[in-house]
């Protein structure tokens, strides 16, 4: 079982991202869950989304999880959310920030003994450059592919295209570029 917790703001596409990841993973014969804790949250409010991935059918319907990966897709939430909540000794962190890894860790006490498990990538800048607006949900998945080695980048891009197929070609292309850049730039 792989468990992922997203830290996001409502409107940044964490739910779409989590469902997109789930859709890609399901095509490979695995079982997935993608869900969020939002309810009456308004745009801009801090919220969590979640993924579970396993080879067997997933029957755990508990919301809380002990994540293997934590995605922080809004830069400020690394400072204000409890991003290390319920973590494990091997939990990996992928954090959107314009700061270097050292600068970020020096400002967040909870990450200071986890430096080897913290990865940074500027999904905000990447999505502004490619998609044209701050939409960090798809680039973070590119970074995740690099860190987790779950699938080859090409395989992931091909399947992600199908997930995004209802969008205009221009948007699909921009997302592919964003995913590729985050894959290459995550540190």
């Amino acid at each position: 079982m792989v468990e992922i917790r997203w830290h996001s703001r409502a409107g940044q596409g964490a739910v779409t991202g989590a469902k997109g990841l789930g859709s890609v993973v399901a095509t490979t014969g695995k079982q997935v869950q993608a869900y969020a804790l939002y309810g009456s949250a308004k745009r801009g409010a801090a919220m969590n989304a979640y993924n579970r991935i396993d080879d067997e059918p997933i029957t755990n319907q508990e919301t809380k999880m002990y994540p293997d990966y934590v995605f922080v897709i809004d830069p400020a939430l690394a400072f204000t959310d409890d991003i290390t909540k319920n973590d494990k000794p091997d939990t990996q962190y992928i954090i959107t920030t314009h700061l270097s890894k050292e600068e970020l860790i020096s400002q967040i006490p909870a990450l200071q003994d986890k430096a080897d498990r913290v990865h940074v990538v500027d999904c905000m800048q990447i999505s502004l450059d490619t998609i044209g607006r701050a939409m960090p949900n798809t680039p973070i998945l590119g970074a995740f592919m690099k860190i987790s080695k779950m699938y080859d980048l090409d395989f992931f891009l091909e399947n992600m295209k199908k997930v995004l197929s209802k969008f205009p070609q221009k948007i699909i292309d921009a997302n592919m570029e964003a995913i590729t850049r985050a894959y290459n730039e995550v540190k």
Binding site: A18, G22, A26, G39, S40, Q61, E62, T63, K64
Partner: protein
Amino acid sequence: MAKEFELNEVEVWDGNYAASQALRQAQVDVVAAYPITPSTPIVEGYGSYVANGYIDGEFVMVESEHGAMSGCVGAAAAGGRVATATSSQGFALMVEVLYQASGMRLPIVLTVVNRALASPLNVRGDHSDMYLGRDSGWIQIDAFDSQEAYDLPLCAFRIGEHLDVRLPVMVHQDGFTTSHKAQNVYPLKDDVAYKFVGDYVPVDEMLDFTRPVTHGAQTEEDWHFEHKAKQHKALMDAPKVIDEVFAEFKKLTGREYKRVETYMMEDAEVALVLLGSSVETAVLAAKQLREEEGIKVGIVSPRCFRPFPYDLIREALDVPTLKAVCCMDKSAPGGAMGALFNEVSAAAYSTNARPMITNYIYGLGGRDFAVDEAKRIMKEQKAHADAGHITTNIQQFSGLRGPKLGFYETRRS
């Protein structure tokens, strides 16, 4: 003629989308709806299928949930296949008309996305609305995950419309936990699903002008009792058809549903009885506890909440090894023991095993039901079994903050 919808062998759908696809495949003629969180996407989906030519049907916009169910009653009496969706306060506003629908024997399908009832206002899932429908004369079937939220509405049309039943059917799923959680779903192809559901067979339809009929007549003490008794008998006789439809669905899909689902009860010493998505979490906890500590835990769930499966609950709990059972109610009991506790206790009373039974109130307003908490409750039942008597209050509260709350002690020693 409606267009075919392209589906993959495996889709990643949440419970709402799954239910809306089932309504589409059943080619529902009329949906009258007043959307409410968390069930909104079900009727929203139906509306978009109509607009895009995937359904030859009609979406009727109304001014309230009372109007929504009234519209459904009218359309069903006219002779169409009818469905809608609601939750919580919307369900509460529908209640008056729910009794009309069942009394008029109209096989409407209502997909209920379970949500807490105010006050305080809360959009998250518990079973308050499902419990509110208990005495309304509808068949109530409970889905535990999004695959089931797709499968069970298909079965519901078959069950409700069957000429030996002709009763409305609710299909429940848990708000957010199921309705907004995407999981692998294996849908049927459109033609296969429609063939399973079958063409709608109208009975005494008002649009048959060659044979005028009256619906919703008034009866006083001369006939009311006979009508209500007949309606009750129809509910009590429905299990035969429910079992047949489930058997046929299994033949088609390999997915098996029973009016009472049981897990690991063969040698169980303790058991949990509960409803909804928590069943899956409890089964996981029971498996882990068997492995970790050797405690023989089983799980029982009345998938068919109404008609209450008195016979099968009794069968499930008549296990010689069974000593302690905990019934878990996800609805504020309002000055009583939980409803599931009361009904299961009544059924278990006439078994030979006659286990000790306790009651937990849990999960109100969407409070998370954790694997660790399920295990703690199971271990507590084991402590009752070892002591030979109930060692706690009979009614307790799981996951509640503040001072420990409990009511009533056992008089059995």
